[in-house]
Amino acid sequence: MSFISRSRCRLREFCGIGHSEICAELSPRQTLPGQNDVLLLQPEGGFLLKIVPTSDKKYDGEIRFKVQDPFEIRNQSRPEIVDWDYNQQKLQFNEVDERSEVLMKAVLPEKFRGEASACISAIDCTENITVGRLPMKSDPPVSNG
């Protein structure tokens, strides 16, 4: 594991996010100007979930996403060793032994379009521990005259 990954794990433990068999990092693909750590939804926005096992053991487990209503999480694509359950908002990892990256997106359904803020939590279901968070903001409604 790289120094950066170890640092992130220690930082999470220090901040009280919890200890898990994995490190998780949620990287937004679109951000607001000047707010590089906030995912921008227009009305959806992609993010990359990176999972790194913290030990030599292979990781078999589930990551569940939790967001405030009416936001929801969808998968864009995934490695073959990862399954996605849309109804449970859950990723299933099968024997991950190195970094695994999954392309996800957060969506604000069209009928709720408007300016709103929320936070995505990624929860390791085995330990019921939050292993990553990502704040997000949907853009103001676009005026079409």
Partner: protein, 220 residues
């Protein structure tokens, strides 16, 4: 330009008819049904044959009326294409609103078990990269995870996360650039003298060739 949004039915291998009656915000207009004919065997540089030769392709033109919280209702005309053996559904719209997710969500909520559409489209990296490898030419791919040339890596067999792929497909005398991004295909259609329904439901066309390639790359 018409955009195809992709979903699958939940029960794979179980043939389901498209909903026929008026449901919720859908008004069914016209429909057309024909059998798929293998276009890949003679043309594809990647797939030797087409696995779903003879499957029924059903096209259903509909009018969808939105009910916004403010303002008057708005209508859009689109086409749902259902391919019976591969269980793929393509929602074809040539306008920006309503969003495809809005229409799929409405279909899921109201057609229910009669036509069980999956909540989202979740392909593997291998599915997407097989589709890229099956193109005649790769114009561009965007990936968030590598600085190395992704086109070369994919051609050498790597399966990468892809956010966008612009690909050229050649079929007979036709050659078009199509775009795949997040479960959506943008396939230019010929200049239309006919309705969207008629343009989509030709027996052999570059669009049908791309769709057959897509089914082969993405089927499970």
């Amino acid at each position: 330009m018409a955009v195809d949004s992709v979903r699958r039915l939940v029960d794979r291998g179980v043939s389901q008819p498209l909903p026929t009656q008026h449901i919720s915000k859908f008004e069914r207009l016209n429909s057309r049904e024909l059998d798929a004919v293998d276009l890949l065997s003679d043309e594809s540089p990647y797939f030797d044959s087409y696995e779903f030769d003879g499957q029924t392709r059903t096209y259903s033109e509909f009018e969808f009326t939105t009910e916004p919280l403010f303002g008057s209702p708005k209508s859009a005309i689109g086409v749902l294409e259902y391919r019976e053996e591969s269980n793929f559904i393509f929602l074809v719209l040539d306008q920006d609103t309503p969003k495809p997710d809005t229409i799929f969500d409405e279909l899921r909520e109201n057609a229910g078990d009669q036509f069980p559409v999956q909540g989202d489209f979740s392909p593997t990296y291998e599915n997407i990269c097989d589709f890229i490898r099956a193109a005649d030419h790769v114009v561009k791919v965007n990936t968030p995870t590598t600085k190395d040339d992704p086109v070369t890596r994919i051609s050498e067999g790597a399966n990468l996360p892809i956010e966008l792929a612009r690909l050229r497909f050649d079929y007979e005398e036709n050659s078009k650039i199509i775009t795949y991004s997040d479960g959506q295909l943008t396939i230019p259609l010929p200049e239309r003298e006919n309705s969207l329904l008629q343009s989509l439901s030709e027996q052999a066309s570059l669009r049908e060739y791309v769709i057959q390639t897509f089914e082969m790359a993405f089927h499970e």
